[in-house]
Symmetry: C2
Subunit: 205 residues, 2 copies
């Protein structure tokens, strides 16, 4: 299903889900109109209707979308209830911060373990997650059945790590290393270059 | 100039710059073709030509782009040589990691200082940057002439912080809080929801 949706629409799905989940449960928002959602998120109303149509949840004329139902539809769309295990490679400041970040459970994602090549870190626990040696990447990913990985290693190590993750059966990588990685066609990649995003913002001014 | 460029093309500009900077300076890459760049980055050649046309740097038929010149054009496009000050609000694990991250200087961005509301953190230095009280946000931003801000606070605090940053003269915000913020039309925002990006990757599988 999600294969047919434009990337920008897909990117907005978690935004809709977060917003609808954030509304009070006092009954005020039993139904919510596309206009109200558009206003709440600063988006166009037509855009919101088009995006939400992909969830298969239909809004009622003059009433809007049944909120609980729309939330369930978005959760289903984002496979929130299919538990997925993820691993983090690179336990520097960022990897450490991500291990302590609680937001993944909202999407059915569990950070199972982390990998690093620093002997001082291997064998320790961060936020209750074990830090294993990158030498055990393949076995570690297999054992916890991880299909997702976060790469938070230095740029020069990213490509090698990406290839090792592919060999370990990882299907999708979120890459924080400020370099393009190409693990191969079978692995999906989203790159997040924090400095580049800030530079892009600056160049828009 | 950058106002007329499609967002996806703009997003790729730092990718081209990183790639061209990463090539060896032994003379092998005095000139580089759009095909070579496309192959190196796993992009389409036509796409690469279209993107690079926005930089105003012209490639020579059968030879390619003069690499040094193309790097300068991309740097100019991304305003890399205009020094810009940025601040971080929220010195949790992520804020701490970003303060220690060296990649910003590659884009002419200097992290001037950080803000937090935790008395235990206020007055300390992280990676050589002072942590000030959010109560001094306005004065702190003004004093260092910051126009960029990174928001790394909990979701429930993000909107208030965004409004305070607008009042403090900030023109663009990189938001890591897992919630939409609306500081007002005069402030550009890019949201980075790490968990959401991982969920999007998972839903593509």
């Amino acid at each position: 299903m999600t294969k047919d949706i434009p990337e920008f629409s897909l990117q907005r799905m978690p935004v809709y889900l977060n917003y609808l989940r954030s509304l009070p449960d006092d009954g005020t928002y039993g139904y919510i109109s596309s206009g109200a959602i558009a206003q709440g998120l600063g988006l166009g109303e037509v855009l919101v209707r088009k995006d939400l149509a992909y969830t298969g949840c239909a809004g009622k004329p003059k009433v809007g979308y049944p909120r609980a139902e729309l939330i369930r539809a978005l959760e289903k769309f984002l496979c929130v209830h299919d538990k997925k295990n993820a691993v983090i490679v690179g336990v520097g400041g960022l990897g450490r911060a991500l291990l302590s970040y609680g937001g993944f459970v909202n999407y059915g994602i569990e950070l199972a373990c982390a990998f690093d090549n620093d002997p001082a870190k291997i064998g320790t626990y961060i936020a209750g997650k074990p830090v294993l040696s990158v030498a055990d990447l393949r076995e570690g990913c297999r054992r916890c059945g991880a299909i997702l990985a976060i790469v938070a290693v230095p740029a020069q190590a990213a490509q090698t790590v990406a290839e090792q993750l592919k060999d370990a059966g990882i299907k999708a990588i979120l890459n924080f290393a400020p370099v393009q990685i190409a693990p191969g066609d079978s692995v999906r990649v989203i790159n997040i270059d924090v400095a580049a995003n800030l530079a892009i913002l600056a160049s828009m001014l």
